[in-house]
Symmetry: D4
Subunit: 249 residues, 8 copies
């Protein structure tokens, strides 16, 4: 896209439809909208096939509401992650069609459309019940991108038969997301069982020497299984986004 824009611009200069000074000016007018405190990136959907997602943590509620409004004006779907229920209510007052995915802590405005390019499903696996919010963040994100999502929760390695009983689900997926806290061993075990891309998400679930997810993170980074990559602690969004991208490859 950007390439075409550039060609068009140069073409305009060549044809004398645009002066050099205008062209220089234009090169600076890239398609983001400046709200002062934020520069909303409307090009992103074009560039990356996914709407701008608002990471709400640390942002003032009124800013989030305004950014949502700015994006809705041009896009059929907006996601706001790490959003509290209070924030949802502020957004909902302004955008009545907004819905709140409670465990995922995601506000969604507009409906995702199934992506015809998606060639298979994402399977989200979680080790324990306490990992559910991060797993749901991943699942809702992938669904927003229009790809089918399956869930397989509470199948941690302490009772490995629970996982082995679902071999078929593992085999049916195109991409797997494994969400686990504590020692994060589930990612290695899944990675050893399948010949599919596995995206490991360490969570901050645990206590003591889990050091808020560090143990799981290091465990996953050092996994002896091949075909396994890692995202930041509790980064369900990143995993869901990456998985959706893979289903379109």
């Amino acid at each position: 896209m950007e390439r075409e824009a550039l060609e068009q611009l140069l073409e305009g200069v060549r044809l004398g439809e645009m002066t050099v000074a205008e062209a220089l000016e234009r090169l600076r007018e890239l398609p983001f909208e400046d709200l002062g405190y934020a520069k909303v990136d409307h090009h992103r959907a074009l560039r990356q096939g996914f709407p701008e997602v608002i990471f709400c943590q640390g942002k003032a509620p009124e800013h989030v509401v305004a950014i949502v409004r700015s994006i809705r004006a041009r896009s059929s779907l907006v996601l706001a992650t790490r959003a509290s229920r209070e924030l949802y209510e502020a957004v909902h007052a302004d955008a009545p069609e907004a819905v709140y995915h409670e465990p995922a802590r995601i506000i969604q405005v507009g409906e995702p459309r199934p992506d015809p390019a998606s060639k298979g499903a994402v399977l989200v696996i979680s080790a324990g019940t306490a990992d559910l919010p991060v797993a749901e963040e991943a699942a809702v994100t992938a669904e927003a991108a229009g790809c089918p999502v399956e869930r397989l929760y509470d199948v941690g390695v302490a009772g490995i038969h629970r996982l082995l009983a679902h071999r078929q689900a593992l085999d049916a997926a195109r991409v797997l997301i494994v969400v686990a806290g504590m020692e994060g061993a589930l990612a290695s075990v899944v990675g050893g069982l399948v010949d599919k891309p596995v995206i490991a998400v360490p969570t901050s679930v645990g206590y003591g020497a889990s050091f808020n997810g560090l143990a799981a993170l290091l465990g996953m980074l050092n996994s002896c299984a091949s075909g396994l990559v890692v995202v930041n602690i509790d980064n369900g969004f990143g995993a869901g986004y990456f998985a959706a991208m893979l289903t379109r490859l």
Copy 2:
């Protein structure tokens, strides 16, 4: 494969061709070869579409030679990573067709065959000249899996025009691997420029507060770019393996 084996087994029991005791025994005879110090996993090529790869670090040279011999007996291609030149010479004495990828520190026995399922190329990008060994480990690994590989080296962010000058190469790739030490910022920049899966490999290149790659690792895990995942410090093999897997999706 495993599923069929199990069906066959059960079928055998049903038909009375096999006693229950025999079946129990068989379930234990899985297709790996026990060398005592190592259990070579011949099934892996079947299960994961890639030959067993020998991680040489910490293994006795005579063990590596024996494991290579065991795998060669059944497979047309063996890789041995983290291999010194000395180790290569020991392997070469036993397997004259072995070649040594010096900067990648990989011993390769046999020739990779282009994978017809591969739908595009892997682009390996490195930030600096010192990151070359890890970048080459990634590139040689992906080539061993039969997929085309492009290289774009020494394009760190301190002179970002060097990277921007290669936008076409970024656009042509199906999957990108970014190898960077020090602060690892190149991964974020590349991740912001493309709508492709980016696999970030932190390296231990740096000094002082790089803490042997920790700075780059944390930087990549915290990247604000979407569509970016991370592997262990210096894990060129893991990135190459994962990237190859994605070209077959």
Copy 3:
């Protein structure tokens, strides 16, 4: 147990009482109950001689109540650890026989039965008064497993005569649990005095450079005493469970 189940299954196939398809299906029907957000593992009591224990931290109260109900239906004893008093009240409303061990933060539903296989007592030693909650978690857990428990609290090494005065108690125990925060030196001292298994539990008690139990954890891991093993920071449950297991050996 699992083995018998498998034999029975194969036997059924051999006798034609079950088709191969049915057998495949069955292999997937393992004895856990799927509550959606959780897979309750009723087999665990059979597999590991201990009821399913619910780790409450990070779980929604209504989920805990439902899991307790599910386990009670098949088991005479349920433990829920890391439980607040509020959570206890929610459980108690549903299960009136539930009792709350306040300092241990454990909800117990049903009565433990003395384990006839238990060959001796567990002695729980704590360094300071502030370590009491973790020590009690260990003690209540071991009691739930049916083994006798003795307590020896507030005998830290700053006044080592308090410990030496109880040599007889040390000698009478079969297994010892040492619970200590700060520098955790008590574990080494006890380990040097007895010829018994010592399970060391670092606690997060302390301040400054205790780094939430890290100092005690490292101290215990580096103990120069033999016959000493370590569990996670504040993991009284793990120590109590392991100790109870040892009294049955």
Copy 4:
């Protein structure tokens, strides 16, 4: 200044206007005011060309009010950083001309005067909206020192075109401050684009493996860009102060 005072003192001794004992006594009477809990340093404005700044964190409100009063008596401008709105209200009751810079969390009493020695502007760049408070702390501090300040917010590297679109602003500044959390890569990118001093401020914005700003801090310290220095995590004040100093060089 101190030198002159010393010369004057010695001169007084030489002229017999002052006894040796008196001189010794005087050497102890340096120009700070002792409030008991604090020694207010009125000499600082003379020594360092900047009024005493009160770092409020950890100080009792009544102490802050008294220190403000002590400084106002001799100085036309006082800053109090890391100040809550509550603290502001306490100061305001005593000093009605006090104003509160909300996002910067700075109380300002008195008006800054443009510094005639200032030879150019400070450009404060921030990566994301959540970095705004730290960026504002830097901007308000530099303004208090009397130098012109420009702001360029929300131009993180995930959408690098937003930054590249403002090349002219980068070129116009004399000194740049880059405020970024998460992986902090923006500092390296800016450092690679300009031939100006860049002061990098890591922020604690982020989650998971950002470890409260450690990732950004390490990233910035390891930057491969030259001409880049670093201050403490969230230390907007330190960056603003240093930048203002540079505009007067």
Copy 5:
């Protein structure tokens, strides 16, 4: 033992066979031999049922030779751990019956006698070939204590069928030692499969973010499996010693 000695002493005082001064003196004469640089603890075999073991790291070779000689004079079996081959040769010159367990890096002088109190075997499991030295240190130590030892090596979770194929070996053991580097997930998996004490030994095998065994250590400490305890990184001796103690319970 100590108690009897004390009774005897007091009895001697009572009977006037010993003066108070002599008794005071005696209380200081405890049964260790002072070599100046080392105090050899001959009582230890009595107190803890195991000969004094010499940890060689950091000790001068001539000191080790002398300590070995001192212990041999009273004990039928001496172990020296973390011993290089050079050290072994120095010891062997003085003690011709000494043997060297190469991979375990242990010097053994004298023959272990099967312990009649031992009620079952120790199973030592290792994840990879590179973990072998630590696994052997554990195995040789347990054998020195007179208990039967089984070995199951190279069964890491990346190919979990290799482990599952040996369920019978797991079931046959009384105590299990799991030795693993990298992410250490094998310990959790084994811990979830058996109802036996599992002693987890993290090793320093790995690279990058394994941080010399820290990843495996944290993984094992945070294991979600019950019945699992941990020793220091690479502490094969400690695991073997503890396991042997458990077979005698």
Copy 6:
């Protein structure tokens, strides 16, 4: 003291005034009082010349009240450190003579008596106003031990003339305590100026990369000044106790 007790005991046995069994029993009856949750150590005043001090953090208020009561029964002075005002009120209700040192967070019951053995004063120096609570904990503790205490607060190295102006105070002290957060450099500077024992107390005052006092702790441990020792972060009590001990040497 203990030695005399032992002599007396043995003497009693020798004279037949006590049976061996009684003597054994007595050896166990050491002078601490068992409150169940705590073993109050009345011997400590004898052994260490200082009353039992209650570290309140993590203890239940009713326990603290009871321990205070137990000590008061035999001692003229009790200190309770890390005590909130709420706790003080609970203690005061039971012990009306209790006073509360607000900034030091210490409850004191009874009056300290000047220690005639004290040969000089302790000088407590603090770097900033926010370090005051820790400095006061040190000062009040040393005063409780009966030694004279001087205070010199807010003399951090950013304005080193404030410190140099008080050289006489430094010279007059017998022992110095330096309390500093942030980078803790004050300790090195003081250590370089005096030929007296300097006890450095890092505080958790600071932000960002101070990591709750770690920066100050490491700075002080690595001080290039001789004659300087360190206690735990925020451990004003430990410094005051040690300093008081030194004034009696």
Copy 7:
């Protein structure tokens, strides 16, 4: 420069002297030379007023020799940092005018010219003799940029009179670089004495809890002195480069 190039290019398109396709091609031809393993950035001297500097650590000697040759062809001065004497000899064989700054470990090819824009001197201060290599790296770098440099070595805070005796040197400098290992307190003390920009360089000099420079780094980042910024551990080059930039402001 880049702007002019762009204008020229657009002008060429406008005038029809260049086709759009050619222009697109040209945008990719940026002025760096591609040696395959390295992209030498000849534009840097133009962009940043300083020749390309070769960081030698981790680069193959033949690569360094070739890069030096490439730069010499267009630039009158080349620096190669972190260079061993062996590397110097290889470069010298190819470039006979190369000189080696031994303690600074810098190879210099060509002579620096005094920079007429430089408005004052850089003063490099070091705490101890062992910090000399890093201090010299800073000094030689600043000299290469053409600015006058003064040195003041071995004036650590343990004997603060050594520093105070040189107040005049501090006052005469325009910019100060403070190089210190261990606790790094010298930076804070200097920062408190002057009203000049201070660039603090932590060094890895020290032992024990200096953790290879971490203590000094944290100390400097947390400095309570204003007007102080920090570079990476041992980064003398970065400090010298930044200081030289400031003398031209």
Copy 8:
């Protein structure tokens, strides 16, 4: 001393024997000798009652030889710590009376004289044989300061009776130094047994999670014993220096 010098100077100015300019000049001529790379501090013996000690680590041999020569010219005793045997030989060639304390790695030139002010002995206690070098560094340093030193080595807590057997030695000392690696628990135990100042020296002895002495350091900092202070890891010199200072109090 410094005070008198100042008085004399002022007196000289008053009497007209010295001009103000001369006086200013003199204030800069403090008594250290400038060797260029080092400023030898001859005043130190006067200021701190101990000769300048040369910390050799990181210094060039020729520099050490020259500094020794400079100090010998004015002082009867020189110590050089962290000195290799090679360095000793270089010093010895220049200063034939030099002796080498092998385990302590200290070069001593000249004989210490018993300090008549010393009021008691220093007892150096070490936990294990491998801690000997650090313990000897402490002992030789204290002896150099002229105070009597006793040694009690290899009395670690794993066999606490070895320590308890030496209660008399503990009671006889005026100051105790406890040197221990691994978990460092010996310091707490000794601190709980005596009413004397205890200086704890963590050593880097250990492996795995000892993290080069971090475990011992944290353990000692968190000691629950009062009257205990800590120095840097392996800092035998600092402990010996501080202890000697205490014997003169």
